[in-house]
C-alpha cells in the first residue's frame, strides 16, 4: 500500500496550496517566495549532487561492452555498443539518453515445464518511458512562452504541432494527454508487474503521483476551472519572477497556485531523489567510457604504488631447492644462497 501514501501526500500538498493561497496576503508567499525557494533548491541541489559525484574519481575503466570490441582488422567492431573512440562513446550516449536504447533491449523471461526458460522481447517499459519523458519535455518547453517575450517563432511552431489535431477550444495539446497516459501506464505497470511491485518504494510512487497531479491541475486550469485564470496576469507574474521584479496585482484562481506549488515541490524534491537519474545517466562509467583500456592506460588517482606482489626473490628463496632439482633456472644458485645465509 505504499502508493496510498503518495496520494495522501499529494492531496495534502494540494490542500495546503489551495487553501493557503486564499488567505489574504499569502498570494505573494505561494506565487513568489515558494517558487524562488524551489528554484534555488533545484539549481543548488542539482549542482551539489553533480559536484558530489564528480568529486569521486573513476578509478578504473569499466565500460559494459555490449558488442564486439575493436581488435583485429578483419573482426568487425560494434562501434555503438563497444565504442573505442570518443566519437563512438558520444553516439552510444546519445542513443542511450535520447532513445533509451538499453531499455529497448528489454526481454521478459518465463519459466515453463521441462524446465524450459523462454525470453521474448518486451518493449512496453521502453514505450511508456519514452511517452512520459518526451511529453514532459514538450510541456516544459511549451511553458517557456510564459518566461519569454515576445514569443519566439520556434516556440509557436512547437505549440502548433502539439495542438495539430485542433480538438476543442482552447485546443488540446497532445503532450498533455500523452503525459497523463504515460504516467498512468508507468504507475499501472508498478502495480501489475509483480517484480516491480515488490521492489517499489514510496520514492517510486510519489514522483509519479506528483507529476500526474501537476499535469492534471494544468489541464483543469486550461480547460475547465477558468475563473480568475487570465494568461496575461500569469505571464506578468512569470516575467516578473524571471526578471527579479515579481508583482501580484490581481486575483489569480486557486488552481493556479496549486499547480505552481506542486511544480515547486517537484523542483525542490528533484535533487534529493531518484529523479537525479537525469544527471546520473550522463555520468555512468559503464556507459560513458571507451573500451580502450588495453590500448591506453587509464589513471587511478588513488592507485597505491606501494602495493607490490609477493616478490620473486621471496618466492625463489622459499622454493630454490625444488627449482634447482627440477632444472628450473634460478637467480641465485644454491651455494650462493647458502653463503648469504
Amino acid at each position: 500500500m505504499k502508493y496510498a501514501f503518495s496520494f495522501l501526500a499529494v492531496i495534502a500538498l494540494i490542500l495546503i496550496a489551495g487553501l493557503g493561497s486564499q488567505i489574504p496576503g499569502m498570494q505573494y508567499f505561494f506565487g513568489v517566495a515558494i517558487p524562488y525557494l524551489a528554484i534555488m533548491l533545484f539549481v543548488g541541489g542539482f549542482v551539489y549532487r553533480v559536484m558530489q559525484w564528480a568529486k569521486s574519481p573513476v578509478p578504473f575503466s569499466i565500460p559494459t561492452t555490449c558488442g564486439q570490441g575493436a581488435s583485429l582488422d578483419f573482426i568487425k567492431q560494434d562501434k555503438l555498443d563497444c565504442p573505442s573512440k570518443t566519437s563512438e562513446v558520444v553516439a552510444r550516449m546519445f542513443l542511450e539518453i535520447f532513445l533509451f536504447r538499453s531499455l529497448f533491449r528489454n526481454t521478459k523471461s518465463e519459466i515453463h515445464d521441462g524446465p524450459k526458460i523462454s525470453y521474448e522481447s518486451s518493449k512496453w517499459l521502453w514505450l511508456f518511458a519514452l511517452l512520459f519523458h518526451y511529453s514532459f519535455l514538450l510541456i516544459v518547453i511549451r511553458h517557456m512562452r510564459l518566461f519569454i517575450d515576445p514569443i519566439p517563432f520556434w516556440l509557436s511552431a512547437i505549440e502548433g504541432v502539439d495542438s495539430m489535431l485542433q480538438i476543442g477550444a482552447p485546443t488540446l495539446y497532445l503532450s498533455s494527454v500523452a503525459l497523463l497516459g504515460g504516467i498512468a501506464l508507468l504507475f499501472g505497470r508498478r502495480l501489475v508487474n509483480p517484480h516491480v511491485r515488490y521492489i517499489s518504494l514510496n520514492n517510486d510512487y510519489f514522483p509519479l503521483v506528483l507529476i500526474f497531479a501537476i499535469g492534471l491541475t494544468g489541464i483543469l486550469m486550461r480547460y475547465f476551472l477558468r475563473t480568475n485564470i487570465d494568461i496575461i496576469n500569469i505571464k506578468n507574474l512569470a516575467m516578473g519572477l524571471v526578471t527579479f521584479s515579481p508583482v501580484i496585482t490581481v486575483k489569480i484562481g486557486a488552481i493556479f497556485y496549486i499547480h505552481l506549488f506542486l511544480v515547486s515541490t517537484l523542483l525542490a524534491y528533484f535533487p534529493f531523489s531518484k529523479l537525479m537519474h537525469m544527471g546520473g545517466v550522463f555520468m555512468s562509467p559503464t556507459r560513458n567510457m571507451a573500451n580502450d583500456s588495453r590500448a591506453k592506460r587509464h589513471i587511478n588517482p588513488w592507485n597505491d604504488p606501494e602495493i607490490k606482489p609477493h616478490s620473486y626473490a621471496g618466492y625463489e628463496d622459499e622454493f630454490r631447492e625444488f627449482m634447482v632439482d627440477a632444472g628450473i633456472p634460478v637467480e641465485k644458485e644454491l651455494s650462493a644462497a647458502k653463503d648469504e645465509a
Binding site: 569521486s56 581488435s71 515488490y198 518504494l201
Partner: protein
C-alpha cells in the same frame, strides 16, 4: 549437502513458490531475514588462511577466527558497524560508480529477470535491483538527506547484524557477470555493488574459504592450486609427453626462461585438471606449430585472480606478478590463455593498477607481423586474438575433419563478452577448426550470455544446488541446441567455465562435453613431422 535429483529440481524451479514463478511474497523484503542452513552458503574462510593474508604487507584481512554462518554470533569485532559505515564512506569517495549506482536507480525492474540467480532460485533478493537495495537502503539511511529525514518511508534502514548477514548471503549469490548492466538504462552494474559488499564484509572478517584459500595460494606459490614450482613444471611436462604420445611431435617448452620473446600465462587449472588439460595441450601444440619463442613461468603461474573476488588491494597484489615476471624475464609481450575473470582484470584493471608496462614492446606477432594495437599499452594479447590472426594469415595448417567427432556450440564467458568485447575472435577460430557448429538462442549469447552460475569463486561443492539452479539458464540454452542440432560439445574460452560447466552439463545435460576453443585448435592442427595415432576423440583419445 546432497544435491536434489534432477526431476526434483526440474519441478522445483518451475513450480516452487517463488517470485520467478509468479508467487509474490507476502512480506516486505526488509522483513525477511537471511537464514543460513547447510547448502545455502559457502564455507567461511579458514582461520589460518585469513591470518596468512592479513600478515602480508599491504593487505588487510582482519578478524581471523573460527565461525559459522549458521551461528547467531558471527564473532564480529565490537565496533563492526562503525567499520562498515566508515568503509562505505571511504568507498563512496573512491568510486564514482558506487555513488552513481546508489543514487540513480529508479527501480524500473528491467534488470529483475535478467539474473541467472534469480531465474534459478526465484528469490526476490536475487533480482539485481534488490541486491543493490540491500546496500542502497543502508546508504540512504546514513548518507542521504531523504533517508535521514524520512527513514523507512524513504526506503532507508539501519545497518544491523541482520543486514550484514543478508549482505553475506546475497553478495555470494552474484557472480559479477554484468548481464543486468546490459539492460539497465543507466548501466548500473551489480558487479560493482557486489564487489563493494564483499570488500566491506572482509573489513569485519567475513569471507569464504573457496576464495581466500586460492588467493593465499596464488600469493605464495604463484597459482591458486598451490602447485609449487617443480610440481607446476611436472604437470606441464606431463601434458607435453601426452601430446608426444598422441601426435609423435616433441614439444619444446621452457620455464622461467630469460630472453624469451613471449611470456605465456594461463589459469593454473588448465595444467591441473580435466578438461582444462586438453586446452593446455592445445596451447602446447599451437606454439610448437608456429615455433613461438615463449616461456611459461612458475612464479606467475596463475592467470586467474582470486583477488578480484575480495578487494582491490589483493587483486592488485596478485596481478602484480604478471608484469614483475615479464620484466624479470625481459620478454617483449605477454600472451594470456583462455579465462574469463582473468581477462576482466587484464583488460580493465591491470595497466591502471600495475602499469605502465613500458619495459615491454607493443605486441607484434613475429609469425604474422601483425601489431596488436588494441593491446598497445597493456602489452598483453588474448590467445584467441593471437590464434585468429594466425589463421587469417594462413600460418596454421588445419584439418577440420580431425574434429569430426565434435558438434559444438559456443558459450560466451561473462567477462570477455561484457567487460572486454571479445566475442567474434573465438567464433572466427571455430569457423576454421570445425566443419560446423551452432549458436545457442540469441538471448543467451554474446553480450546477453548467461553465466555458468559458479563464477567469482562460487564453484565450491557445498553450494551445489545453488550452482545448478543459477546455471540453469545456461544449461537450458545448451539443451535447446542439443535437442535441435545434436550438439555434443560446449566450447568456451574460460578455465572456470571448463570446471563449472562440466558439473552443470553432468547434471542438466549428461553426455555434453565441455572444452576450450584451443583444445579444438589443437585437435585440428596438422603438425610437421607428426606421427599421429587414430585420434577419434582428438586430444582426449585414450591410447
Amino acid at each position: 549437502m546432497a544435491v536434489p535429483k534432477l526431476e526434483q529440481l526440474s519441478k522445483s524451479v518451475v513450480q516452487g513458490p517463488s517470485l520467478a514463478t509468479g508467487a509474490v511474497p507476502t512480506k516486505d523484503w526488509m522483513d525477511i531475514p537471511a537464514i543460513f542452513k547447510p547448502g545455502n552458503y559457502a564455507y567461511p574462510a579458514k582461520q589460518e588462511k585469513v591470518a596468512y593474508l592479513n600478515s602480508q604487507k599491504d593487505l588487510h584481512f582482519p578478524n581471523a577466527r573460527e565461525w559459522s554462518p549458521e551461528d547467531d554470533d558471527w564473532k564480529l569485532p565490537e565496533d563492526w558497524k562503525d567499520i562498515i559505515l566508515k568503509g562505505l564512506k571511504e568507498r563512496l569517495d573512491k568510486f564514482r560508480s558506487l555513488k552513481i549506482f546508489m543514487d540513480c536507480c529508479v527501480r524500473c525492474g528491467a534488470c529483475a529477470d535478467k539474473c541467472h540467480f534469480f531465474l534459478g532460485t526465484g528469490d526476490p533478493k536475487n533480482m539485481p535491483v534488490l541486491r543493490a537495495e540491500l546496500l542502497r537502503s543502508v546508504y540512504r539511511n546514513d548518507f542521504t538527506l531523504g533517508g535521514k529525514l524520512l527513514g523507512a518511508m524513504a526506503g532507508a534502514r539501519e545497518m544491523t547484524v541482520g543486514v550484514l548477514k543478508e549482505w553475506f548471503m546475497y553478495s555470494y549469490q552474484c557472480t559479477e557477470c554484468r548481464r543486468c548492466s546490459v539492460f539497465c538504462p543507466y548501466g548500473i552494474d551489480t558487479a560493482e555493488v557486489t564487489m563493494m559488499l564483499r570488500e566491506l564484509l572482509h573489513l569485519v572478517g567475513v569471507g569464504i574459504n573457496w576464495i581466500l584459500e586460492p588467493a593465499s595460494n596464488s600469493n605464495r606459490t604463484g597459482n591458486h592450486m598451490g602447485l609449487q614450482p617443480h610440481t607446476f613444471k611436472d604437470n606441464v611436462d606431463f601434458l607435453a609427453d601426452d601430446v608426444e604420445n598422441l601426435t609423435g611431435v616433441k614439444i619444446n617448452h621452457s620455464f622461467n626462461r630469460k630472453g624469451a620473446e613471449v611470456l605465456f600465462i594461463t589459469p593454473s587449472a588448465d595444467v591441473f585438471a580435466e578438461p582444462g588439460l586438453y586446452t593446455a595441450m592445445g596451447y602446447l601444440l599451437l606454439f610448437e606449430h608456429i615455433g613461438l619463442d615463449y616461456t611459461w613461468s612458475t612464479y606467475a603461474s596463475e592467470g586467474g585472480n582470486f583477488g578480484l573476488f575480495t578487494n582491490n588491494e589483493l587483486m592488485k597484489k596478485l596481478n602484480g606478478k604478471m608484469y614483475a615476471e615479464a620484466k624479470r624475464l625481459g620478454v617483449k609481450y605477454i600472451i594470456g590463455g583462455e579465462c574469463g575473470h582473468m581477462w576482466r582484470v587484464v583488460h580493465q584493471y591491470m595497466d591502471t593498477m600495475n602499469g605502465p608496462a613500458d619495459f615491454m614492446e607493443v605486441p607484434k606477432s613475429s609469425i604474422t607481423g601483425t601489431t596488436f594495437n588494441n593491446a598497445a599499452s597493456t602489452k598483453m594479447v588474448h590467445i584467441s586474438e593471437f590464434t585468429a590472426d594466425l589463421i587469417k594469415n594462413g600460418k596454421l595448417k588445419l584439418d577440420k575433419s580431425r574434429n569430426a567427432h565434435v558438434k559444438a556450440t559456443f558459450h560466451d564467458s561473462c567477462n570477455p563478452a561484457r567487460a572486454m568485447g571479445l566475442i567474434d575472435e573465438p567464433r572466427y577460430i571455430l569457423d576454421h577448426v570445425l566443419d560446423n557448429w551452432v549458436e545457442m538462442p540469441e538471448n543467451t549469447i554474446r553480450e546477453q550470455t548467461f553465466c555458468c552460475g559458479s563464477g567469482t569463486g562460487l564453484n565450491t561443492d557445498e553450494i551445489m544446488e545453488l550452482r545448478m539452479r543459477s546455471g540453469l539458464p545456461r544449461a537450458n540454452a545448451v539443451k535447446h541446441v542439443i535437442d535441435k542440432h545434436d550438439v555434443n560439445t560446449l566450447s568456451c574460452v574460460c578455465a572456470i567455465d571448463r570446471a563449472t560447466l562440466t558439473s552443470l552439463m553432468n547434471y542438466w545435460n549428461p553426455g555434453c562435453n565441455v572444452c576450450g576453443v584451443s583444445e579444438l585448435v589443437g585437435n585440428a592442427l596438422v603438425m610437421d613431422g607428426e606421427n599421429r595415432q587414430e585420434l577419434d576423440e582428438g586430444l582426449r583419445t585414450l591410447v
